[in-house]
């Protein structure tokens, strides 16, 4: 899994309102993208360190998506280093042009992607799925003006998240059943590997549709009509801590844009 699974511990970051965490994340992303000076990068690293420290999460867990994607980072670094067009390349041949600017660009892109992944990872590690769903549906509320059925979308996300463990468990079971009947899932060849997943995918697909059918009956039996005609969720007020966190991220964002 590229994004982390919620780790329920008690930290300032965990206690923050999920809506505010998402908004803060967006501000920080803008800040990272607008950074261009060495001091700017140093500041970003400092902010990141403080956030990870406040979250009380283990560095191992926070950095795990980076560790898994090292090859991807090397590729995007070289793509930038070799194909970035520059006025004074150190070395140039055909479409390849190798320059100091290219290397700088490569480092910048890799750095940005790393920071984005770490921040996103801290968000998912420190926010329960339910809080995340509620926060998303609350932040999506303005889309109602565009006639997007926000409540239904939130209900869909909620149910999808809730069924992930069930379907994972089932896919494991089917995998074992198919292995027992002679299916191979360990082939190294890409084509064979892709084909070998068919005996796994088809039963999961069929059973998921049956689940959906049964769940919809159970929901109707309990009086579900549509997501609009339901008791509204409580509007949780923001606390000083939440507002301070967003303000801090906003200030960092503004500073990075103008310096």
């Amino acid at each position: 899994m590229l994004i982390g699974k919620f780790v329920p511990i008690n930290s300032i970051i965990h206690r923050l309102d999920a809506r505010m965490k998402i908004v803060s994340l967006i501000f920080l992303l803008v800040a990272v993208i607008s950074t261009s000076t060495v001091y700017g990068y140093a500041a970003i690293i400092m902010v990141l360190t403080v956030i990870i420290w406040l979250s009380k999460l283990s560095l191992f867990a926070v950095l795990s998506p980076i560790r898994r994607l090292w090859l991807f980072f090397i590729v995007i670094f070289f793509m930038n280093a070799f194909f970035f067009s520059s006025d004074n390349p150190l070395f140039s041949w055909w479409i390849i042009s190798f320059s100091g600017e290219g290397i700088r660009q490569g480092i910048k892109v890799v750095f940005n992607v790393c920071v984005v992944m770490i921040l996103g990872n801290v968000l998912t590690l420190s926010t329960s799925p339910i809080d995340m769903t509620n926060a998303l549906s609350s932040l999506l509320t303005p889309l109602k003006l565009l006639r997007v059925p926000v409540e239904d979308v939130a209900m869909i996300i909620n149910i999808a998240i809730q069924f992930v463990p069930t379907i994972l468990e089932e896919s494991n079971m089917i995998r074992k059943a198919q292995t027992a009947r002679g299916a191979h899932f360990e082939s190294r060849k890409l084509r064979e590997k892709a084909l070998s997943f068919l005996p796994l995918l088809i039963p999961i697909f069929i059973s998921s549709f049956r689940r959906a059918d049964e769940l919809s009956l159970a929901m109707e039996a309990r009086g579900y009509r549509n997501a609009k005609r339901r008791t509204k969720k409580a509007g949780v007020p923001f606390r000083v801590l939440d507002v301070t966190a967003v303000a801090a991220c906003f200030v960092i964002c503004i500073i990075q844009i103008y310096i």
Binding site: I130, Q162, L215, L217, A218, M219, A221, R222, G223, R229
Partner: protein
Amino acid sequence: MNNTVHHNSTVIHGSDISFSYDFDGQLSSALTDIDIEIKKGEFVAILGQNGSGKSTLAKHFNALLPVQKGKLTVCGIDAKNQSEIWRLRRLCGMVFQNPDNQFVSSVIEEDVAFGLENYEVDRELIPDMVENALRLVGMSGYEKRSPHSLSGGQKQRVALAGVLALDPDIIVFDEVTAMLDPMGRKEILEEIHRLNKETGKTVVMITHYVEETVNADKVLLLHNGRVAGFGTPREIFTNTELMQRVGLVSPVPVRLFNDLKAEGICLKSCPLTNEELVEEICRLS
């Protein structure tokens, strides 16, 4: 309100109910001329083999399936009346077979609140009602847990709490024990009986396990979509000819009673449970 029912009044009354499933224009008959009458506070088991129409009939009681032919009144509401469907579903709750396919939230208290939210119950009232429902099924203290962390029996009890939260008059259990291990089956069966006795709620239990129905007030025996018998468990299970015709095996004590009779040993009355059997055998000497 005309749905306030007094003791011994009829809560489910159906006559001549027939139903066919439509498979791409091919009609397949599932129920034929069903007559049924269930009184308030009764524990009625609907028994039959797979494909006998048990679940189809059960899904009529809360209007999950429309009445195609015949007449059905539940808690004084005509099941054909589209405008009353939601009121009907609140009065007649249903627990399903697969515990995993009836949860809508990964937090137990949110799942139990689901039905209440659907009926737009005041937000302030919900926490108490949820707590109350979970206490009724003995699952207090699990509010914040995920349904996935529970055993099968516990999952079904939480599903039951979700139905109980709406305080229905009737609860239909649609093969709720079918996917449970023996311990889970025992656990949920005892829960259903306790609920029926303590709260006086009418229980309709669908099952294909004969043993689960011996403590019911009435048994409705379905065979090929028709009512094959309706009476007390004793009346049904001691009717050997009837049980053979519908392809079901009587409970062990009844079979032993019959075997002993064939050997010339007559017990005073036919026992249904192991306890009754032991008592009868002790009385022999």
